[in-house]
């Protein structure tokens, strides 16, 4: 049996078709989930989620700001539920709009955050696969995700769909608010749907490179993921997949902070370093400096980019990812190599995903670790 075969990589190979299918499912839903009045009412947006959903929020924050022109924050669920300033919630007629993402809809902290912001008058749009979940029942509106079942693995398909749902919302907000004509909005959408085709073309080369990296890196004790802006979300997601799939230590940091912190790490020769470096990123010059000094430190290096080796002029393994017409669509596919590498390392070392929820990890079976938690609705007075 091929020692590389694993469900996580199978999920990656299902993405080209999934992207097209999910676009066809979600695009009409996004058109009707909020009315013109509701979209025009939005003055600020909070994107919130846990785990992969939090990464999806980070991946799309700038799309909301660039396309819709609406100030957008990414706030983790516990920050929103326990710390976020009450005086900033429910102001100016149900603002900010809180977009809460949870596929199961039963994550305790999201449940708590949504209860709190609803209590103080925010409008809540739930993005979930479960209308009858706590999130579904507590939201003012629901964008229902319908992701076909697949062999279980650390979130790969669900992440792609969450990113797409949020991107479609950003495009819709900008379209309705007349930031650009409908034809332009459709061009953003067509480009989004086309990412499945672009990914399909690049997957064979991506897979070959990822297998080689996994073989060479499988015994490393730690991995370091670096990216900025859009790319930071992919870096964050990458460290999450390593932890989930392999149980090994992994770090995530942006290109600037790397020079303040992560470059200090010792044993550089055994520190697998993955840099997300898209050629359209405003942070590209700093990313190139990371590559320069990571090379000097002797770190094994992978650069995930829509460009080529020529764009960087440094020695590293370059894994090419799709180059969309519009950079906002990058997060839809640029995470795929990190899933392949994590999945292959997991298969090669024989590590169960999530440690199989066995032994000391049994408490996390069926998501119990994130679903079963005391719900506390905080008011500002409590915090002060």
């Amino acid at each position: 049996m091929d020692s590389f075969i694993n469900p996580m990589c199978a999920q990656v190979f299902s993405l080209p078709e999934l992207i097209k299918e999910q676009y066809d499912d979600l695009e009409p839903k996004v058109r009707t989930v909020l009315s013109f009045q509701e979209i025009y009412n939005v003055q600020r947006i909070i994107l919130t989620g846990c785990g992969d959903s939090y990464a999806a929020a980070m991946a799309t924050k700038y799309a909301f700001e660039m396309l819709a022109g609406i100030p957008t924050e990414v706030v983790s669920a516990i920050e929103l539920s326990r710390f976020y300033c009450q005086e900033q919630l429910g102001i100016d007629c149900r603002n900010p709009l809180v977009i809460a993402i949870s596929h199961s809809g039963e994550v305790a902290r999201i449940k708590e955050a949504v209860q709190r912001v609803s209590h103080f008058g925010c409008f809540v749009l739930g993005v979930t696969g479960n209308e009858q979940s706590s999130l579904g029942l507590q939201s003012d509106r629901i964008l229902k995700l319908d992701i076909p079942d697949f062999e279980s693995a650390p979130g790969t398909r669900s992440y792609a769909v969450s990113v797409m749902a949020l991107l479609l919302l950003a495009v819709r907000f900008g379209e309705v608010r007349h930031r650009y004509p409908m034809d332009q909005a459709m061009d953003y959408r067509i480009d989004m749907r086309n990412q499945g085709n672009l990914l399909k073309d690049l997957l064979p080369a991506m897979d070959k490179a990822s297998k080689k990296v996994a073989e060479e890196w499988k015994d490393f004790p730690c991995y370091d993921f670096i990216g900025s802006g859009f790319d930071y979300a992919t870096a964050w997601f990458g460290q999450a997949k390593i932890l989930e799939a392999t149980g090994k230590f992994a770090m995530h940091i942006n290109a600037e902070e790397w020079f303040h912190l992560n470059f200090f790490a010792r044993d550089a020769g055994h520190l697998g370093t993955i840099i997300i470096g898209n050629t359209t990123s405003p942070g590209l010059s700093r990313t190139k400096e990371v590559i320069k000094y990571a090379t000097r430190l002797g770190r094994p290096l992978v650069v995930i980019t829509d460009g080529t080796k020529k764009d960087f002029a440094k020695e590293a393994v370059f894994i090419q990812v799709p180059s969309p017409k519009y950079p906002i669509n990058m997060p839809l596919t640029h995470f795929t190599p990190v899933c392949l590498i994590a999945g292959y390392i997991s298969a090669l070392i024989g590590e169960k995903y999530g440690r199989g929820c066995e032994g000391n990890w049994e408490f996390s079976k069926d998501g119990a670790g994130v679903k079963n938690s005391e719900i506390i609705i905080k008011t500002q007075e409590d915090i002060c």
């Binding site: 009315s35 013109f36 004509p181």
Partner: protein, 134 residues
């Protein structure tokens, strides 16, 4: 004879198509007959208006928008408020015009020109000119 013209409009454009229609009539060789100008869109209109004062186009645009403002409470919510208003404008103002051909030329007055009215835009648009002899 039927001719299709492609045009690229700007936002809320008042696009002069008079010369194109005149040329179509000329090329048809029809001396006496009817010319139908037809716009196949639902968020654009067709109108005859005076070309002499450019500020008049602004009056036209402003009056149309005053009569049918872009609002966010339209029942049609599939596309955008601009689109919903555009459908109403198009329906009220009409999307075609009939003209007389006499002695091989389009019979229009000296203060008349034919305009494609864009109620959205910028868009890639088209219109048709049908020339029919008596």
């Amino acid at each position: 004879m039927l001719i299709n013209y492609k045009i690229k409009t700007k936002y809320n454009d008042v696009f002069d198509i008079t010369d194109k229609v005149k040329k179509a009539v000329c090329e048809s060789g029809v001396k006496e007959g009817i010319c139908l100008v037809y716009n196949p869109h639902s968020t654009a209109g067709l109108a005859v208006y005076s070309p002499w004062d450019p500020k008049g186009f602004k009056d036209l645009d402003e009056e149309i928008r005053r009569l049918i403002p872009t609002r966010i409470d339209f029942k049609h919510q599939h596309d955008t408020p601009q689109d919903a208003a555009g459908h109403v404008k198009s329906a009220i103002l009409g999307i075609s015009g009939n003209f007389i051909i006499h002695e091989g030329e389009l019979l229009i007055g000296g203060s008349q020109a034919i305009y494609f009215l864009e109620f959205d835009g910028p868009r890639n648009r088209e219109f048709y000119v049908k020339v029919q002899a008596d």
